[in-house]
Symmetry: C2
Subunit: 123 residues, 2 copies
Amino acid sequence: MTDDKRTFGQIVRDTRLNLRKTNADFSLRKFAFRIGISPTYLSKAETDEFQPPRAEKVVRIAEELGINKFVLLTKANHIDPGLKAILLKRQSELAELILLVSDMSADQISVIVEAIRKSKEDS
Amino acid sequence: MTDDKRTFGQIVRDTRLNLRKTNADFSLRKFAFRIGISPTYLSKAETDEFQPPRAEKVVRIAEELGINKFVLLTKANHIDPGLKAILLKRQSELAELILLVSDMSADQISVIVEAIRKSKEDS
DNA sequence: ATATGTGTTTAATATATATTAAACCTAAAT
DNA sequence: ATTTAGGTTTAATATATATTAAACACATAT
């Protein structure tokens, strides 16, 4: 299960410090500049004193850290910009589907995804 | 097709004025107070001079006007708070599904919804 | 004529969210 | 002993989004 109990800040700091062990480019300052935020802000965000940055920055952080962006976005209380764009355009049509699967397990949803994928191949 | 070319403001004003024909409670002022926004704001929003109000207010407007909330939310560039809550919790699990169906027609999505609904009955 | 109801406009704020510069305090390297 | 690199703290802003009070103009009812 992808059920990480840690906060946004804890995940980012833990992961970054781990990478820093073998790569000095993962110091707080260098990492912050690479992402496009100030060291100040990253410091506070990693200690959960500030709220996480906006969605786009969170995605960049996840990419740089090599972790799943959706997990980090969820911790940051953001919806992925790509998903958001799709939903903004088609929420009437997608609402039913999302509500319908919202009480299903991840496994059950995977089964559905696979079924749809297969049916798509046959066309 | 639910493809209304009108803006948020146009839809709200048109619908409200229609209701007002037979019901004085749909004057701009009374309606605004009922929704919980100022007449000023509603006036500007209905003429698209201000951006639409926040999602919760848009939902209330749709309910009062008796129109589909998702359509109005889309025009207002908001995601339905209910959907948003689901996505914030489970976007890792739902992302694949949403991306997969995002290029399908509304009809095709309906077919999938029906299939899932049936399979749910058998359990 | 005036009070009442309608929508509009002017002129600002309010509120939340996102964000920073600069000074600071270490510990390690020179 | 001092430069360097690390992270922290103070003290504010910046930015976007959401929102309003009060005065106005016009029509209709009294």
